[in-house]
Amino acid sequence: MAKKFKNPDELFKFADELTKKDSDDIIELRIGMGTCGIAAGADKVYEVFQKEVEKRGLKNVVVKKVGCLGLCFSEPNVEVVMKDLPNVLYGYVDEKFAIRILEEHVEGKKVLHENILDKPYQDIYEEEEVK
């Protein structure tokens, strides 16, 4: 798969290509899967998402493992990133709630009523996007 970069410029070029490839229609489900999330049951939530996304044939949905967000008290945490809706972070997600996220938020395009958390921070790259 991967080829070795032959010089520094190739890496910059590759990074640009990766950014360009991003399509608007992709819906990302980011599941916090650090040790803390997994201990709280994030691995089961992850499996449910994978299984259900396949079952429903949702081709533009990416189920993504991510690291810890730092909100240990509300694990497992899932962030839904999709066009036409704000990024929403849900806490206390269990297997049942995961299916509701898929049905109501991803397919129904409606933000759920429960367990919404404010993403607690800004990071350095969001700042660039603001500019």
Partner: protein, 590 residues
């Protein structure tokens, strides 16, 4: 497509704002026009009510009940905000994060954890997409090692492992030593109770640590790096191994990195869980295959380290900062933070705190802001007593110092340390002698036994503490604790022994009255020291429900139904079960 507005209403300090807005909207027949959602917000100390409006993407703060009409009028009906204009949150410069446009009501600003929770840590492409390895490419293209050190110097970065030694000095020192073989070591032997920052960085963004190490290798002229990580972190190890493999495939590790003459590789070394191996000389001994014991310094590892070669050793968090500094520039980084402590620090908030978890805040934020704004205050809204920072090497900080800005020097002046970043919040039910005992016990267990001040001093201090906690203490014990503690600080060989007395000395400094109470009055006000607690039943409150008698594991409670019960003190084992189960508050702990 549904193009109704979504209104998010912050719901913990907002009181009944949600209900009021909801009712108003129903009354005015506007409820169907918008989506209303509650959300749980953070960092609300200065801003009481936060409302986010989407898709307008504005944040309105401090809305009062009287302004709800105006809010509905302006935001929902005509979408033109005039009267509430002053309440719109403006992204403005904050003294701790200059020249950035950060929404600082969050109080968290992420540099080290920038990718954690955003990218898939097992996919190098996602890291590259978020500007990953660009700093390395830039350096290999146009920077000399001296320029890298110059940027680090400008940034003001200091070691995040606890000591706070300026990073550029360490790098410069190792660079200037003549040697054909040099090493870079990443210290990921995180052992403090209650601390897990390094684990989260390694699990959430392993490539940032690798990139920092590769840059270090280029700067000091090393070809080999080691990550010394605890075997107790299997997921971190797994993700690191994947990351290293992917970086090799891309030519970012190994021979001729990015087609240049520079070669560097990284291997993992697993620690078997000895706390002392977090000390740099003990860690080096452990990598060499020897027993993990510290040796006297100097010579420092930068002169004579791993296999007697010059070795640069930094903590995980320090390395994770490096790519950002070189990507955005040292000047940019130095705008974040406070006085001589630049940048951000990750803390692990644990103990009696509502929002327990990892937080990354700019240096200089006060303890109060971290605990009450970011952390949401204490569980059950109980009264704050103290916060313990720095693990077994740190100390406690009482309430009167909550407004101290967090920095290396300020914490040291209070008798604690920044340490790796554990922060344990304690309330009135925590006994300070018990806390000191816990940390000292930890240090005694983990002492390697090589030097006598640590080996004997720790044990002696612990036995005095035990004596005090069972009510056999004498007033002179306090002086003994202080004199042994001071001797340990001065004479111990390594950081473990030098800092082991800190929890005792700092609790003595701020809570001496509690020690005296244990000794003179044989009383533990927190009810933690079992031998000093006595349970009794208040006959005026007891209704004779028999629940405590049923639950008592040793049948020490007797009495007839519907009549006050009594506890037989000669049988009672002070387990506290009766106290916990009584629904009428009739069991008294004294």
């Amino acid at each position: 497509m549904d193009n109704r507005k979504i209104i998010f209403i912050g719901c913990q300090k907002a009181g009944n704002l949600y209900d009021l807005i909801n009712k108003k909207l129903v009354d005015e027949n506007l409820r169907q026009k918008v989506h209303l959602r509650k959300f749980y917000t953070f960092g609300l100390y200065t801003y009481k009510n936060i409302i986010k409006v989407w898709p307008d993407n504005i944040i309105i703060t401090n809305i009062t009940e009287d302004e709800i009409d105006t809010f509905i009028e302006e935001v929902i009906k005509n979408g033109k905000i005039t009267k509430l204009k002053d309440k719109i949150y403006k992204k403005e410069t904050h003294p701790l994060i200059k020249n950035t446009k950060v929404e600082f009501y969050h109080k968290q600003f992420r540099v080290v954890l920038r990718n954690s929770g955003v990218i898939n840590p097992e996919d190098i492409n996602e890291y590259i997409k978020r500007n990953g390895y660009k700093a390395l490419a830039k350096i290999l293209k146009e920077y000399t090692p001296d320029q890298v050190i110059e940027e680090l110097k400008k940034s003001g970065l200091r070691g995040r492992g606890g000591g706070g030694f300026p990073t550029w000095m360490k790098w410069n020192c190792t660079k200037n030593v003549e040697s054909d073989i040099k090493y870079v070591i990443c210290n990921a032997d995180e052992g403090d109770p209650g601390a897990y920052m390094d684990r989260s960085i390694l699990e959430g963004d392993p490539h940032s640590v690798l990139e920092g190490m590769i840059i270090a290798g280029y700067t000091i002229g090393a070809k080999q790096g080691f990550i010394y990580v605890r075997a107790e972190y299997p997921l971190a190890i797994e993700r690191l191994e994947k990351a290293i493999k992917q970086a090799r495939e891309y030519g970012l590790l190994g021979e001729n990195i990015l087609g240049t003459d520079f070669s560097f590789d990284i291997e993992l070394r697993l620690g078997a869980g000895a706390f002392v191996c977090g000390e740099e000389t003990a860690l080096i001994a452990s990598i060499e295959g020897k027993r993990g014991m510290p040796r006297p310094r100097p010579p420092y590892p930068s002169i004579k380290g791993l296999w007697d070669k010059p070795t640069l050793i930094n903590n995980v968090e320090t390395f994770a900062n490096v790519p950002v500094i070189l990507y955005k520039g040292g000047d940019w980084y130095s705008q974040i933070g406070y006085e001589n402590s630049k940048g951000t620090k990750v803390f692990a908030l644990t103990g009696k705190i509502k929002n327990s978890g990892l937080v990354e805040v700019p240096m200089g934020l006060t303890l109060r802001e971290i605990i009450f704004d970011v952390g949401g205050g204490l569980t059950g809204n109980r009264k704050f007593k103290a916060v313990q920072t720095g693990g077994p090497s740190g100390g406690v900080i009482p309430e009167e110092y909550l407004d101290t800005p967090i920095a290396y020097e300020t914490l040291q002046n209070l008798g604690s340390i920044m340490g790796s970043g554990g922060m344990i919040v304690m309330d009135n039910e925590d006994c300070m002698i018990d806390v000191a005992k816990f940390y000292l016990q930890f240090a005694v267990d983990e002492s390697c036994g090589k030097c006598s001040p640590c080996r004997i001093g720790g044990t002696q201090m612990l036995s005095i503490l035990n004596k005090i906690s069972i009510g056999h203490g004498e007033m002179e014990d306090i002086d003994k604790l202080i004199s042994i503690g001071k001797a340990m600080q001065k004479a111990s060989l390594c950081g473990l022994g030098q800092t082991a007395p800190n929890p005792v000395l700092s609790t003595l400094k701020y809570f001496r009255d509690e020690y005296e109470e244990h000794i003179k009055d044989k009383r533990c006000r927190a009810g933690k020291c079992r031998e000093l607690v006595k349970y009794a039943i208040d006959p005026t409150k007891c209704i004779g429900c028999t629940l405590c008698a049923i639950r008592c594991p040793v049948n020490a409670i007797s009495g007839e139904r519907k009549k006050p019960h009594v506890i037989d003190q000669s049988i009672c084992i002070k387990c506290g079960e009766c106290y916990n189960v009584c629904k009428f508050g009739a069991v008294i702990k004294e």
